[in-house]
């Protein structure tokens, strides 16, 4: 199997102070890393899930993959081509190959356009020759399970679930090789969540598209993804096959995340792991293992030097001195 996407030691850095501000206040840093040293690999036709809480840097990493956020260090390769070296027009061309589903489904649709023109917008942007937009839009609507009449609606006339479907249709417009889905079920009721996940599963089975799914809820990707990468404070702390992560989570943070969404059964309430305190700020990163401030199993060595990111089995890797 070939890798469609390969990220090596990626850092995304944000400046938080102007040059003048830095002159006045030298005590706090002028920039911080929203993503630090992240390496992930997505195999062709597979689904990788990036899981983490707010501030983990998931969306930033996803935007870096599209080239919308510049990376400060590391490399991002899409089908073997390095994207951080690309010229502006090369990047535009490269983005044809990526379908992006936004977290805010309705907000990501231009408010004054009909669904029909929204989902064919990629074809117009890239001036695809000989394209019949009417046909294309009908095909796309059919693909995502929306009836033809939705073509003439405006974004504000859609429900959350329908807007998601329009987002999927738009992402599919130019036959992408990769789909990035940022929180595909955010804001949806439980009874509708399944619809979107089923749609993504079905599309992948039919069209063999590779997928990167971003979420804060592990359960959402349990049945969708092949591999899972857990992010904390901009770093990947654990990575592995989905089945393995669920059956044998090794990193304490993964454990905590898993226990944070209990099953709806009053008799199956295992002791939930309560993490101490809150996520630290990426501006002032803790020393050593950056999770040590909240880890329920912390030992002295944890705060001294950062644990290496090491494979513990053929498919599972993590950075923890004392894996479970």
């Amino acid at each position: 199997m070939t890798d469609i996407l390969q990220l090596k030691n990626v850092c995304v850095r944000f400046r938080i102070k102007s040059a003048m501000g830095a002159l006045f206040d030298r005590t706090s840093p002028a920039s911080f890393d929203a993503v630090r040293d992240a390496s992930i690999t997505l195999e062709e036709g597979q689904t990788l899930a990036l899981v983490g809480e707010s501030g983990a840097g998931k969306s930033t990493l996803a935007l870096a993959i599209t080239g919308l956020e510049r990376i400060a260090e590391g490399s991002i390769q899409f089908e073997g081509r390095e994207i951080s070296q690309m010229q502006a027009n090369e990047i535009r061309e490269y983005r044809r190959g990526i379908g992006y589903m936004w977290q805010n489904a309705i907000g990501s649709l231009s408010p004054r356009m009909t669904v029909r023109s929204l989902i064919t917008e990629p074809a117009r942007i890239h001036r695809v020759p000989n394209v019949n937009t009417r046909e294309l839009s009908s095909k796309l609507l059919d693909l995502v399970g929306l009836s033809e009449e939705f073509g003439d609606r405006y974004p504000h006339q859609l429900s959350g679930g329908q807007a998601r479907r329009v987002g999927v249709a738009r992402a599919l417009a130019l036959n992408p090789r990769l789909i990035v889905a940022d929180e595909p079920t955010a804001g949806l009721d439980v009874s509708v969540q399944g619809e979107i996940l089923n749609l993504l599963n079905q599309l992948q089975d039919e069209l063999k598209i590779s997928m990167l799914v971003i979420t804060h809820n592990l359960n959402v990707v349990r049945h969708t993804s092949d591999k899972i990468a857990i992010m904390y404070l901009g770093r990947i702390v654990e990575q592995g096959d989905t089945a393995e992560i669920f059956s044998r989570p090794r990193h304490p943070y993964t454990l905590a995340l898993l226990s944070a969404s209990p099953s709806p059964d009053p008799d199956m309430q295992a002791d939930r792991i309560e993490l101490k305190g809150e996520i630290p700020s990426p501006i002032n990163r803790p020393s050593g293992c950056e999770f040590h401030t909240r880890c329920p199993f912390v030992k002295e060595t944890c705060s001294e030097s950062p644990p290496p990111f090491e494979a513990v089995s053929e498919s599972q890797a993590l950075s923890c001195y004392f894996p479970r």
């Binding site: 935007l63 599209t66 919308l68 990047i91 535009r92 061309e93 983005r95 044809r96 990526i98 992006y100 936004w102 977290q103 805010n104 907000g107 990501s108 649709l109 231009s110 408010p111 004054r112 917008e121 990629p122 942007i125 890239h126 738009r170």
Partner: protein, 278 residues
């Protein structure tokens, strides 16, 4: 559009505004036909008359029919307002979008320019300009354009910035759209509505400004009729007759009232969020 109009006239104030604006615009357009007298024809024997059947608003110190002068003055007022606001709007949109969407340094530079121009109190700036080039209608229009550009520019910039942070703009970028496409197809249509409302609410301000400058004798040259110059005549005759003041001010108040009510009801329907920037 018709739907909006229907909602506007549902509100009593909206209907009131629309009627006033229509009345004054139509009478200004038809001034040449409707006006009973030549607005600049002298008629010394009939001077300083109070309103009568022959002269609805009386006559001024040179015997000119005030009603006819008021009608023709409306043309000047509307002409100045529409030209000035049109040009300022166009320039403001371009500069504002550049500032809002362009690189940070450009944004800062344009903002600084706006702030600098805005730092002159309008009437004083106008007087300084008039002192240099002499009074004329063109000077007034030019001054109004220059001083209004920053207002629109700033609004366009703020709107552009707030729309730019929406996901649908990022979505366009990720799809590979060029900046010109994003600006023209996705940002402009979303800011034009609120801008038009703002502009319609600015028409009275500009008309008042023109009247103010003409009142000071810095605007239109005599004998061209303007509401401001009628008021100026009234000011010098204040101890003799109140009629020129009334004749010059009533249309001025009515048109500002009309445009304001029209703009307010439009704004309330189209964009409730804009209420903040009032």
């Amino acid at each position: 559009m018709i739907a909006i109009l229907r909602r506007v006239i549902k509100e009593p104030t909206g209907l009131f505004g629309l009627l006033l604006v229509t009345l004054i615009v139509v009478s200004a357009l038809l001034a040449g036909v409707v006006a009973p007298y030549d607005p600049i024809a002298l008629n010394i024997p009939d001077r300083l008359q109070s309103p009568s059947q022959a002269h609805l608003l009386g006559t001024d110190q040179l015997g000119r029919d005030l009603f006819s002068r008021v009608l023709h003055g409306g043309r000047v007022a509307l002409g100045v307002a529409l030209t000035a606001i049109g040009v300022a709007l166009a320039v403001g949109i371009v500069l504002g979008m550049l500032a809002g969407f362009g690189p940070r340094w450009l944004d800062k530079a344009i903002l600084l320019l706006f702030d600098t121009i805005r730092s002159f109190p309008t009437v004083m700036f106008a007087l300084a300009t008039v002192a240099l080039v002499g009074p004329s209608l063109q000077t007034v229009i030019a001054v109004i354009i220059v001083t209004t550009i920053p207002t629109y520019g700033r609004v366009v910039r703020t709107q552009t910035l707030s729309i730019k942070s929406n996901e649908f703009i990022k979505a366009e970028q990720v799809m590979g759209a060029k900046t010109t496409r994003i600006l023209g197809l996705h940002i402009l249509p979303n800011i034009v509505g609120p801008l038009m409302i703002l502009a319609s609410m600015d028409i009275p301000t500009v008309i008042a400004l023109e009247a103010g400058l003409s009142f000071l004798g810095m605007g239109v040259k005599p004998p061209t009729p303007s509401w401001g110059s009628i008021l100026n005549d009234g000011f010098s005759l204040i101890r003799v007759t109140p009629w020129p003041i009334i004749a010059g001010s009533v249309p001025l108040i009515l048109i500002t009232l009309g445009f304001t009510y029209l703009g307010e009801s439009l704004r309330d329907f189209i964009d409730p969020k804009l209420r903040k920037s009032f």
